[in-house]
Symmetry: C2
């Protein structure tokens, strides 16, 4: 597998989940050992020079990226979830997405003060969920050392938004 | 890390997400490289003798188990998701959970006819979601070669239910 073959596996679906959205479908990237291994290599190579304690994985597809990275880099994995999914004391943060408003949640004891967190998700669109995840990490005293994605939709300017906040951002694929 | 230390990391929260549910919280198992590595070793050791083509991962925490197993065993990963999350042609299956009814979905081209699928999730309760996932795999012509979980709640009899259907079931931890 090479970069072109990998990118060709991504499918675009029109008007999903709502009208006007061009949805990038990463499911085919996961389906074969070859493409999954390529994904894993790319992710870990992008992140080997980043100092971190834990990976913060954004629900749901970020759990896949987060699990792969945490294992490969021998780090802890922390789940940043949709509202109502995490038991025990949590903190919450609301955010806007392309098609509505959501709330994100993290367990209070998920991150220790001073820990360095790399945040992982499958796709960067407007950056709303990424900023919300960073806010949760920082409220717990953690330091966000960067973001990693499979796909960045440059035309939605999420990468600019995150970099304007001072965050480092890496993505395997970009769409202009 | 040993078996007792690993099991001690699981926390039980009363009345989450609704009254009467004792919720097993696996988040602490993921948070350190030590416990995550132990989890990964246990999962892969349980599954090395099973012949499979792909891991079928049940949303959301099953994505973590599925990603770890797929990488470790060099298999493809297929996502079995909550309704409305998967683009393109899909098939659906409804099921009952401890606290309501849900619909599960899979992409039509996720599994090829005759492929052997190991289904992964974090927790086995009544087995409703597991049976629904198996049904989706079988509707696409796949063969379910077993189930793997981190936790099985024996008192909810999901393991009996799956075994009565003829499925092989493995779980790292069991609660009577």
């Amino acid at each position: 597998m090479n970069d072109v073959e990998f990118k060709d596996l991504v499918r675009t679906w029109k008007d999903f989940p709502t009208n006007g959205i061009l949805f990038k479908d990463i499911n085919p990237l996961l389906r074969t050992p070859d493409s999954l291994n390529y994904l894993n290599e790319k992710l870990s190579n992008m992140c080997t020079n980043i100092q971190m304690n834990k990976i913060g994985a954004i629900e749901s597809r970020g759990f896949i990226i987060g699990a792969l990275l945490a294992m490969r880099l021998s780090k802890g994995l922390v789940l940043i979830r949709k509202e109502g999914k995490l038991p025990g004391p949590t903190i919450k943060q609301s955010y806007s997405i392309e098609y509505g408003t959501r709330i994100m949640e993290i367990q209070n004891d998920a991150i220790l003060s001073g820990e360095k967190i790399l945040i992982a998700d499958d796709l960067l669109a407007t950056g709303g969920s990424a900023i919300a995840a960073a806010s949760l990490v920082e409220k717990l005293g953690g330091k966000v050392v960067g973001f990693v994605f499979i796909i960045c939709l440059n035309y939605l300017e999420g990468m600019d938004k995150l970099r304007n906040h001072g965050y480092s951002v890496k993505s395997i694929l970009e769409y202009d």
